[in-house]
């Protein structure tokens, strides 16, 4: 849409796509049944290379460590085992996407395999001018 270009000459709204519980769901990544899923992800990555700024897959929340500083800055560092929020559905990774607007981001996110196995959360990324 032309007016969009006029309004935002940088043409860059970046969205973080956060795939949901698809990949982990209580299974190890090394299991044979994950192979198909991994292939799907690899395909998604290749087919959408132009729009993916960066991406990462995270280990399951069982490996998570929460870090807190007690009191104020410089206070005691306290670490705890486990995720920040104990939920059944956890983020399994992220993509930073280059999309002109939300509609475009939705179109890309709908191709992430997690979208049909679980869900993908889309959040705009704040860009500091």
């Amino acid at each position: 849409m032309r007016a969009f270009k006029a309004r935002r000459p940088d043409r860059g709204a970046h969205h973080a796509a956060l795939p949901g519980p698809h990949l982990h769901r209580g299974r190890g990544l090394d299991r044979p049944e994950q192979a198909d899923t991994l292939t799907e992800y690899r395909q998604f990555g290749e087919q959408n290379r132009a729009t993916i700024r960066s991406a990462a897959v995270l280990h399951p929340t069982a490996t998570a460590t929460v870090v807190r500083v007690v009191g104020a800055r410089g206070g005691n560092v306290v670490t705890a085992d486990g995720p920040y929020a104990e939920t059944k559905e956890a983020l399994t990774g992220y993509y930073i996407l280059d999309a002109v607007d939300l509609d475009a981001a939705v179109e890309i996110a709908a191709r992430i395999p997690a979208a049909w196995g679980g869900a993908v959360e889309l959040r705009p990324v704040i860009t500091w001018a």
Binding site: M1, A13, L102, D103
Partner: protein, 312 residues
């Protein structure tokens, strides 16, 4: 002579939503368009008392608002200090003034635009009522059964999300319309309700608002004739509207339900034909089903009478 300020107030009240709709379509941004319309109204407040009311107030406001919007976009482009697409800005300036028909169509399409599935349905309805139907926050709160402050917060949050998430103000394609129908019908129904039972003013009914809702209802039926939801909504609005004259006496005072004479609206042949036509519009489109539709007119009457029993 008409007071320019009164005339301006009338124009904004009656045409404001359409002016905004036209502008949003050209600039692709609701906040920019809203600011520009506000600026144009301020200009009119200064200009009209001095140089007289323009012959076409809506066109005047639309043109001035567009100029303001272009200025705003230019400022933004310069401030961003990034590549500037001046060709687009020129395009914007050259765009012709829409005809009356297009402006009306704009308004309906933009209601569909407001009903973006990335927003909660309550937010979609509230936003469309506020920006495109010209209702105040208080009126929307009343019709959606919320407090005014909660509604104000919801509208603010909605606008923030639109800006932050870059939700585009793009007219949806025909294929996207059915998914948004529920919200659009909600908007029209809420608009009608606002006219049917006004929360402000002395009048029992705000006829202008009711007529506007029915007009929009008709446009939706024309836009997606095969969808049952808008047809049902329009039939409901027409049914309700047929009763409107019985709700107040000649002096404009309320007549209680038990004292209302509901026969004139109900027995009117033209009215019955109207409802039948809209209830049966999808069938009538198929010539083979015309005989069926004919017998269905009896059904339409039965529905009406059933409703009369329920209401009366």
């Amino acid at each position: 002579m008409v007071d320019p300020v009164d005339r301006l107030a009338d124009t904004v009240r009656i045409e404001g939503a359409r002016i905004l709709a036209t502008l949003v379509r050209t600039v692709g941004s609701l906040p920019v368009a809203e600011d520009a319309v506000q600026d144009a109204i301020v200009s009119a407040l200064r200009e009209w008392p001095r140089s007289g009311i323009p012959s076409e107030p809506r066109a005047w406001l639309t043109l001035v608002a567009r100029r303001k919007a272009i200025d705003a976009l230019r400022r933004e482009a310069t401030r961003g200090a990034k590549e500037r697409d001046s060709a687009d800005l020129l395009d914007l300036a050259a765009a012709d003034l829409p005809t009356d028909g297009v402006a009306r169509d704009d308004q309906l399409r933009l209601i569909f635009t407001c009903c973006h599935p990335a927003l909660a349905i309550e937010a979609q309805v509230a936003l469309a009522l506020r920006t495109l139907c010209g209702l105040s926050t208080a009126q929307i709160a009343a019709v959606l059964l919320m407090t005014e402050s909660a509604m104000a917060k919801r509208l603010t949050r909605t606008r923030q999300k639109i800006v932050a998430a870059h939700i585009p103000y793009r007219i949806p394609a025909q294929a996207e319309l059915p998914d948004r129908l529920t919200a659009v019908c909600g908007v029209i129904h809420a608009l009608y309700t606002t006219g049917h039972a006004p929360t402000t003013g002395a009048a029992v009914v705000n006829v202008d608002v009711c007529a506007e809702a029915i007009r929009l209802g008709r446009l939706v039926v024309d836009l997606v004739p095969d969808e049952p939801q808008p047809t049902a909504l329009l039939a409901l609005l027409l049914l309700t509207d047929a009763r409107r004259p019985c709700r107040a006496d000649d002096a404009g005072d309320v007549i209680l339900l038990s004292d209302q004479d509901r026969s004139p609206g109900i027995s009117s042949r033209s009215w019955r034909a109207r409802v039948a036509r809209f209830i049966l519009a999808p069938h009538l489109r198929d010539r083979r089903s015309v005989p069926v539709a004919g017998s269905n007119c009896g059904r339409a009457r039965a529905i009406t009478e059933l409703r009369r029993d329920q209401l009366g």
